[in-house]
Symmetry: C2
């Protein structure tokens, strides 16, 4: 069943929510009286469409339907989830919540994107306080998984579980705080760092660019994968966390931050910061910077996926969910090629020519080979038990270009195999157009001796069933081909 | 000429400096009276050897010689750089500096790894204050490029320039602060965040693991690539930095941090944090966590390299430096295969089989093809002007396995070419052992029409010179081969 989300207040955050829901298959109804809302949301959505679908190695569900509504009622009345992202003033939030509750379903979730207010403040005076909770996301909402879920006892555990499940379903990570607190968790850090940064610029210690470099060439990349405490646990070395704390503890009393003082927030300070920011980043438009940011995030998140760690481990989990909740499993048909890949070309797979880099063709084919191996029983458990196939020879024909964002599908034919051998033929398609073919000869190996060895009887017989059935099909044009363009000398 | 670094005080930071210098070709002399020093430094060095050499796509210089010295004098007397990483107490730093200055060369750099002290404090009472400055690195020192260079007017601009050049030479990024300040720049942020985090745990808002998740699934990956100010510039959207500041400004006065207060640092707090940290990360040993961290950092830094951004742009710059400062350029010899690649297999190129993933063979060959294209004049400028070669067909034979950390060399023969065509043969070696071959047929294309077109006359004639000379050589065994293992049906 298709879910419906109502987005109240567009902008960068509301637009990010809209994109997150829409690209994960939800229908989305937007209400925002700003006459520019449709254009602004369109820009966020364009960024999301170029970066999110390729983030995972499994295609997302079919995009939902997007609708701009002229009334709040039209947006929320049938919604399962209502996300409020209006300006950060409590009286506006209260007015909006009251209007929503007059027309929404009582079982719908009402999430607030507030950075600072506590859920008890939002619930105060509400008709059905139990519907309202904080769901605070991070920009860009379509890529970053974190959502701070902050609740009160009014919400009840059942509703909270529903919220978590729905957020996980769209690839997010609900962090449920144990207690409510002003600014939740992440923004408390951002606020502390922001104050400190304003002082450093104001006092002429470093420019905005130097401060950014101090972060991204140092602790920023540590935090991106392990956060604060695990990083310090490692820094403590063999002696561990207690040793680290004993070392760092006394510094709490040292004058290492301006914590007792807040800089005057005046025009001089704003001009100083804005001027330095222009020097630092003014060569790029905001649109360019948004795309650069998204390229970087996709590349780093996918890099962590290869390590099955942090945000990368979340991606793998979400792919499992996508596979399970995808289209109904087809009945196994040994007489046709088997679909071993269905994915969107991600942003980090393109090169200076603007199209998918040649090495990524082989990566897609190699993933398809893994998929076929799993189908015949050579899966993670089989490999852990000591057997696998190693590729001995590969032949690729590049028939056409493919760009980031396009959906590629791989269909696989077993040309031969049995005993130690496996001979596969992959065809890569964009819709019905063939983009490339990959022919691969693999040998089964014993992972201890690293020498060829026969596959297990179960794998062998599963493979032979495919080889036999595919043998009835015409041999693919191009199989067995060699590069012959220059005559032998 | 080989430089020599003296490392005074081993441990995680001193050991990291030792590894950074050593793997970049410096000789390293270590002095540390701790009887465990050699073992501890050996562990850091082992981590560095598995992660750093493959970080770049160009091999590092030959490793320098490492020597443990029994006296301070033996370590520092011939050193160009002396790095002090002794415990963080001013009287110990002063005693160490005095002892160093009695026996070191007056022109040597004396860098201090201090996290908190100002250079004027370190210089106070020194025989030659101009030698002493703060060079504050970040753990792991062998991977993270940031060094905060903090100086006083005593140091003089000439010496500071030397320091910057030497640090850049070992792949680091010297951030020279405009003024000295307690805790420099980065640790002021770390301190502010650390205080805030201790409060959140103490007040029961979130556990250490939840706080780490709040960082690494959200703002941590934003900061890893753009830092604080550029991230906010983007968040401000079209309205820009001033708009963002106007929005965020008032929050400075809100109770969003515990900035007026410092938590009591007592046993209860230490036990609370250490216990939660055990729950969070106790399944891994510190050694395992160090290697996981390094794998993650290498993968993310290399991901940013594909985007030519942030720490990745630094890597590219360092590779240019490595190429220029590498072994003397060989005279061009058209009669022999040309070396088009010399690199270490990086940590992010291995797969679940523990060896280099098959797609990375093609990536290495594709990089070698790029290198050959540049040699015949199809370089970045040529491509920007609208011409390039696209691969049409590839044939790879995997002859042996290769693991992370091994050096691979690629030698290339031009099998044919001219007009639109380019036919290359790559051989991949580990020392003298052939690991794989790659045969590639490429077509020159007009990047506007995306259709085949003849190469420029200059590229064409440079290519033909290679084809002609290589044509005198015996045709490589395996060229023109097809996959023939299963008989045509």
């Amino acid at each position: 069943m298709t879910h419906t989300a109502a987005i109240i207040g567009g902008g960068v955050i509301g637009g990010g929510w809209a994109a997150r829901f829409l690209l994960n298959g939800w229908d989305v109804h937007v209400f925002d009286p700003d006459p520019e809302a449709e254009r602004k949301l369109g820009q966020v959505l364009a960024n999301a469409r170029r970066s999110l679908p390729g983030l995972t190695d499994v295609a997302l569900p079919t995009e939902g339907r997007l609708q701009f509504c002229t009334t709040l009622q039209g947006a929320v009345e049938h919604a399962d989830w209502i996300q409020e992202s209006v300006p950060e003033r409590l009286e506006i939030k209260h007015k909006t919540m009251a209007a929503i509750q007059q027309v929404c379903r009582p079982e719908a979730v009402i999430g607030s994107s507030t950075s600072g207010f506590k859920p008890s403040e939002l619930q105060a005076g509400a008709a059905r306080p139990e519907q309202i909770m904080v769901c605070h996301p991070f920009n860009p909402v379509y890529l970053l998984p974190l959502v701070e879920v902050v609740t009160t006892p009014q919400n009840g555990s059942e509703r909270i579980d529903v919220v978590k499940t729905l957020l996980q379903g769209v690839g997010m990570y609900p962090l449920h705080l144990k207690k409510e607190i002003d600014a939740h968790v992440a923004d408390r850090f951002l606020e502390a760092v922001w104050r400190e940064a304003l002082w450093l610029v104001k006092d002429g210690i470093a420019t905005t660019e130097e401060i950014d470099d101090a972060i991204r060439y140092g602790f920023g990349i540590r935090w991106a994968q392990m956060g604060l405490f695990e990083t310090y646990r490692v820094a403590g070395g063999e002696a561990g966390m207690k040793h680290f704390m004993a070392q760092f503890g006394p510094a709490l009393k040292w004058p290492w931050t301006k914590l007792m003082d807040v800089p005057d927030f005046n025009d001089d300070l704003v001009d100083l910061i804005a001027g330095q920011s222009d020097d630092q980043s003014g060569a790029y438009t905001i649109t360019e910077l948004e795309q650069i940011r998204d390229n970087n995030l996709v590349a780093m998140m996918r890099a962590l996926k290869t390590q099955d760690w942090g945000v990368g481990a979340l991606l793998t989990k979400h792919e499992d969910h996508l596979r399970e909740s995808g289209t109904e499993p087809q009945p196994v048909d040994h007489t046709a090629p088997v679909v071993t890949g269905n994915r969107v070309v991600p942003l980090d797979w393109t090169d200076y020519n603007g199209h998918m880099n040649e090495a990524r063709y082989l990566q897609a084919f190699a993933d398809a080979t893994d998929q076929f191996m799993a189908i015949i029983g050579c899966d993670a458990a089989y490999i852990a038990a000591g057997g696998s196939y190693f590729t001995a020879e590969t032949h690729i024909r590049h028939l056409d270009e493919v760009n980031a964002g396009q959906i590629i599908r791989i269909e696989t034919t077993a040309l031969g195999g049995g005993g130690k051998k496996l001979h596969l033929w992959h065809e890569m398609y964009v819709a019905e157009k063939m983009i490339a073919t990959g022919e691969h000869f693999l040998l089964h190996v014993d992972l201890k001796t690293r020498k060829p060895s026969p596959a297990s009887p179960a794998v062998d017989s599963a493979l032979k069933e495919w080889v036999e059935a595919h043998g009835e099909r015409p041999r693919p044009e191009g199989a067995g081909r060699a590069i012959v363009s220059s005559p032998p000398r």
